[in-house]
């Protein structure tokens, strides 16, 4: 597995990335994210726990 594929898998396994939602071009950009940045995202994802089910309409409602 290439480094880029490994990065995508890591994000997918962590529940951060759903590959089917992105085009091949977008996934190519995601695969270039640095290891350090991926770690930040994975760490935060673990802290958040499981997402609430059937709540896709929910938004933060925070604005500037």
């Amino acid at each position: 597995m290439s480094d880029e594929q490994a990065k995508l898998k890591k994000l997918e396994d962590a529940g951060i990335l759903e590959k089917r939602q992105f085009s091949p071009e977008e996934l190519a950009l995601v695969a270039k994210i640095s290891d350090e940045e991926i770690e930040v995202l994975v760490k935060l994802r673990k802290r958040l726990g499981a997402p609430a089910a059937d709540k896709h309409h929910i938004r933060p409602n925070i604005f500037v």
Partner: protein, 259 residues
């Protein structure tokens, strides 16, 4: 003597952030960095949505909703002054800095779009039964100060384009009318409390489209991309902490005890 100390410090710590950023910005520019940055924002926005789903689905949400409103006001009232400071810095740098010139152009338009929104939100909080004068005098929570203060640090000491990371996360998930109505039903507050949320539901999708178009065209180096992503991820972490602390009744929950 001062130069010797400065030199010794730089040996230990590297050059000051602004100089480091300026040096890094001698790298080749590429429009592709904007697209890569936007993908980072997209992943981060997904995480913020996950945090939001937990926050708004909490059975205790009606109890802590007033604290959310106070914290939201703390953030919103900082927004235009923050963008004005970023604009001023960008205008200072613009004659010799293309990224600063584009940043300034974007901010001039966006500040006009966001001006007075703090006053509208204040009216909404008053409609929720809070005291206007007390809200105006209420100092922002440490969490809100951390969120906004990080931007002042980067704007002053690195580059005003940091604010794209802030805006990209906060404006990345515009409110949805269906969700606002759900909150209204769950909390029992009158419709007037949700006027600002509804206005943002209407307008923020356009704001997001304009921000994305700007981001994709930004003249960025690889170092700029990393820098703005750092700002975005710090913004994400601060917002998650704000939601967590409000829900848990933490010390930085924007206490409404005196409001």
């Amino acid at each position: 003597m001062a130069d010797a100390i400065r030199s010794a410090m730089e040996d230990l710590l590297g050059p000051p952030m602004a100089e480091a950023t300026a040096a890094a910005r001698q790298e080749p520019l590429s429009a592709g960095h904007g697209a890569a940055l936007w993908m980072k924002f997209t992943l981060a926005q997904g995480l913020l949505n996950t945090a939001a789903q937990r926050f708004w689905s909490d059975p205790e949400m009606p109890r802590f909703f007033p604290a959310f409103l106070v914290e939201l006001y703390s953030i919103v009232r900082c927004s235009v002054p923050l963008m004005e400071r970023a604009l001023a810095r960008a205008e200072e740098l613009a004659p010799h800095d293309e990224l600063a010139r584009v940043t300034a152009g974007y901010l001039r338009l966006h500040i006009a779009e966001e001006r007075h929104h703090d006053e509208w939100l204040l009216d909404d909080l008053v409609a929720a039964g809070m005291d206007r004068e007390a809200l105006l005098k209420n100092p922002s929570s440490a969490n809100a100060a951390r969120l906004v203060g990080a931007q002042y640090c980067w704007i002053e000491h690195a580059h005003p384009a940091a604010i794209f990371g802030y805006l990209g996360i906060i404006e990345g998930n515009p409110p949805l009318p269906q969700h606002i109505e759900e909150i209204r039903r769950q909390t029992g507050y009158p419709s007037d409390v949700f006027r600002s949320m509804h206005l943002h539901a209407v307008h923020d999708a356009d704001h997001l489209a304009a921000l994305k178009a700007t981001m994709l065209a930004l003249p960025l180096t690889a170092a700029d991309e990393r820098f703005i992503a750092t700002s975005a991820f710090a913004t994400l972490e601060s917002l998650v902490r704000i939601l967590e602390d409000i829900a848990s009744g933490g010390e930085d929950d924007g206490s409404t005890a005196t409001l």
